[in-house]
Symmetry: C2
Subunit: 699 residues, 2 copies
Amino acid sequence: MDASMTLIYCVSFFSVVIALAFAVYLHLWVKRQPVENRTIREVSALIKAGANTFMRKEYRILAIFAGVAAVLLFIFLPNPIWSQEFEAVRNLQMVVAYVAGTVLSAIAGKMGIIVATSSNGRSAEAAQKGIEPAFLIGFRGGAVMGLAVVGISLFGVAGVLMLFGDTTISLGFSFGASSLALFAKAGGGIFTKTADVSADLTGKVELGIPEDDPRNPAVIADNVGDNVGDVAGMGADLFDSNVAAMTSALVLATSLQAAGSQFADVAMVFMYAALGLISSIIGIATARIGKGGTPTKALNSSTYVTSGVFVVLTALATLIFRGFSWRIWGASTVGLVVGVIIGLTTDYFTDDSKPIVKKVAHASRSGSAFTVLSGVSYGFISALPAMIGIAVSALAAYKICEPVGPQYALFGIAMAAVGMLSIVGMIISNDAYGPIVDNARGLAEMGGLGEETIRIADELDSAGNTVKAVTKGFAIGAAGLTVISLLGAYMSEANVALEALGRDLITGFDIMNPVVFFGLLIGAAIPAVFSAMLILGVDKNAQRMVAEIHRQFREIRGLREGKPGVKPEYDRCIDIATSGALRELIPAGLMAIIATLLVGFIGGPLAIGGFLMGNIVSGLLLSLFMSNAGGLWDNSKKYVEAGNEGGKGSEAHKAAVVGDTVGDPFKDTAGPSINTQITVVSLVASLMSALFAAFSIFH
Amino acid sequence: MDASMTLIYCVSFFSVVIALAFAVYLHLWVKRQPVENRTIREVSALIKAGANTFMRKEYRILAIFAGVAAVLLFIFLPNPIWSQEFEAVRNLQMVVAYVAGTVLSAIAGKMGIIVATSSNGRSAEAAQKGIEPAFLIGFRGGAVMGLAVVGISLFGVAGVLMLFGDTTISLGFSFGASSLALFAKAGGGIFTKTADVSADLTGKVELGIPEDDPRNPAVIADNVGDNVGDVAGMGADLFDSNVAAMTSALVLATSLQAAGSQFADVAMVFMYAALGLISSIIGIATARIGKGGTPTKALNSSTYVTSGVFVVLTALATLIFRGFSWRIWGASTVGLVVGVIIGLTTDYFTDDSKPIVKKVAHASRSGSAFTVLSGVSYGFISALPAMIGIAVSALAAYKICEPVGPQYALFGIAMAAVGMLSIVGMIISNDAYGPIVDNARGLAEMGGLGEETIRIADELDSAGNTVKAVTKGFAIGAAGLTVISLLGAYMSEANVALEALGRDLITGFDIMNPVVFFGLLIGAAIPAVFSAMLILGVDKNAQRMVAEIHRQFREIRGLREGKPGVKPEYDRCIDIATSGALRELIPAGLMAIIATLLVGFIGGPLAIGGFLMGNIVSGLLLSLFMSNAGGLWDNSKKYVEAGNEGGKGSEAHKAAVVGDTVGDPFKDTAGPSINTQITVVSLVASLMSALFAAFSIFH
């Protein structure tokens, strides 16, 4: 390892250490805050225990999955056991990297859950003193997750590359992170919506009891769901995106340097990631509501601070270090700016102070069919600006870097993704803030903290919802750019294999080539089928849970009447949500992986190029559609509940509730899981490229 | 013109003459059937008048649109007025071809409407005598439309090529047909669903009167809608697909022959089209219910007869004529077989004797949100087999023809589309049968023809619905293959322009090229936005009509009570549906065209390649999703109404009705209009390719 690489690893690890130290500091700060109300302590402990139950089961099943995957990886990758190129050490490295990817992501998720489940009650109590302290607890609790995810992901990527010095092995690490994300995001998504839908159906609709009534056997599962879906799930998803973006940039950077690049490409990747982490720390440290401010403004302004700091720091780095290209700085800045713009357009379609939410609420007056139709329509339209944004940022990043060469231009796109993801620490903080204050609101109600406290908790919660839409748009945009660079990484992997076989190298994927087209069409259908399977999974699982809730109300005497001392069996509901989520998730994940293998072994490496692109394009479209339509329906319902279009209890409200129920699995299960599906499939393709090249029916 | 071409034109025109003569014979046969019931005569006349009102308005607005387009075409195409290559005669030919495309398609649509609106009452009366005579009238009425569309489209394509001998001009003809299809299909789709939704909302839901109650001011508009949407609209859509398939095959065939092909490629295109027409005539002539048969079986078996005859006749032609390639026969047969398979899989997802419809009906027990969620999910899943089918048929057709050369292989794909569309005459007959017997059912009810007659009419209607799903799958599959060959046609047009400019020719569209990717992403978003605009259009328009219906019930005394002699003002509703449909349609159509121009002038010919492919892929996915989900919901509602899951009036029924209302604009407005949007955009791209090549920002 040369001196400059040593330096860059030092910088990376140093920033990781700072980030994790800051996370520990924030965690201790949160723990120091008081939580005295007995009910809140009890319920909070139940939520924590429930979340741990889910995560334990999830990690156990994941361990089996990862064990099987590890054996397969050892047998097949990077080179199959029977091939001449097989080296046991290298295949073992792949296994180690893969396992490290799953374990590190799991640790980050676990940390997030620990702090989130201890922040919720504290935030609720702090709300008695005012909005600022409650906000800070919620936000800093979320920030622990943000810093943990980004710090640990950078640690993992740098560590694996430093140890093994082989970017193909890095892909194994990334695949590990993706495997975990698939379980955490899709499984967590099914869990959370199973509980949410069942709790609403039996509680609000059938019995007419309030949302967080402790008589409802599903109420704890519902609160657990917010944590495992939005904290652990979203964290694993962005861990995965972040690792994938860095890894694909590294694959391209390494091949550029091997070809004698004039720039320090690998160093730039790490430096940008490290500076992103530093910027996030600064952004998190400066978050305050301040005088006359609102939580939404506080969250957004810290996002802008992080972005601004990142742009300045990377400019300084480019100025200081020889071998850092201004073009890459430009590409990365374009990525970041477009990310912010995508977030803002998402906001336009889902914020209830903007016209679209009002239109959908108004349509609800004519009945639920019109709520659905208008939400679907605006959901589709909302995908356009983000698609244009991704298209323009890819084109701009490419054109900025093209003068250096076409390979370099592709690297520019990868760095635009790194730029877009630079503020991911901040994004996760904002995102994890949501479920914490959502829980806090429920706890304030259950703990009987009084109307004013609930009002404050409500305000914090509503800011969480608004910001969530923005961060989701961001996450999808970043995933879009990442997978383009993964496609580049796939091509360079496939070419290594083709060269070894003495066949023609791939120079691109021509859509007029029917093999590419074949892959393209099938790839485009996969996200639709994947999300449909998840939605049906929620549906089936909710039916099981509703049956259990009915049983408890029937068999536990005094539960319905709220007799003191009578409690529902919360655990049973958590168990159902947990095992059902994992049972429904596996077929969907396998379907996507098997489709990739089939297309690869039928159509070969070219078909896979088309397959990945079809997957990206339709995946982006559908995940934007589903996430935005879901957010739109959710906020329309809230807008009606705030007294508009007839208010609570009106026909419009009933229709808006139907929209919200449809939107729930759209926005919290299927929509955001598509990201993960795309990454998993891209990585499977990259890892299998040598086998596809060797054994496919068509070429 | 050489002798062989003279011969082939003679064959084409001869088959056209036979088809049209047979259509006239069938029309006269239908007219000979008695219609004696006074109410039926009156209502039938109202429907006819309403349909004519819509078509007159539609054609008037279309005339303005076409006039503007004609002027623009003259100024810009094939070569702009200011360029050195400009020849006034050639640009004038383009205008003539364009106008001919619109006019011929309009004539075919008009013929269909005339016979459909005179078959409906006759079929109703014949149902008193039994199922066979009623079926024959419905089917033969539909067959007139089928034969007219296919006959006139072949006449137009052959005529334009014979007169001008220039396939670029043929694209103008195809563009004319597309313009009309856009108005007829999307406009008709908005019309029919506006009327349907408004009639249901005010009649069934608010007043609790039956579906076809003559007191409802929207009832005639609803019946008119079936005719203008499903007869004229679907006819124009398939006229368009058929012309586009033939034209793109001809563009490729001509360039192959110019390059010295060993085969009689142009002759094959015409021969296959002519034999498809002959096969359809045979299939239509043999359609009978027979002993122990059902209308569904009769419709399906005549489809199989047509397919079988076509395969045999084209094999014979290949045997007899020198210069006919067996490979092309293989490609065309693959296309046809896959078309039938796609139809059958569609049937699986939408037929109420199959499990999916039952599952959605069962989900309705838990409320309308679950009806919507399960329908959306199965709708997404249902797209997969058709996408695989299209992918496999394109790949197979290509591989079959590849040994001759890559250009020839592309021609193979075009001929697979021609093969899939060969039985289009039969498909349209089946499709137009639907609204005729649907109208007949309503007329039987209004005319008081008794329960047994209504039962027979119901059986005929239900067969229409089942067959409709199959034909829709077919139409989308054929459109998928057609646009691939249009992409080939676009490339060869763009290369002519690039060669003239002395620039590098396009050899393909590489998705790793960010200019292509830029187009791909934006192209993929367009069908989503287009369909959203149409759905919102139905929504807005229905609100206007509901207001008008409320006004009539308020102001016309005795209407609500059904006082004898008091009639609603049917015309006002028809007017609202008509002008609203055209008003809502134009922005959607312009949006798609303007997006094409923007992408073309920003990214140039390569970006347009990506744009078209993105458009095709997401367009296929969304139109399959929407058409199938809509059909699924419709049949689930009928399944519940047949007494399952609680039957009529149950909570499950209410939920199923919501699903059906959501599905209506999906399956009859947005879904099938996407086909047309794709074709229009592809043709705009081909026609503008020279301008894009000369004036784009990027290359």
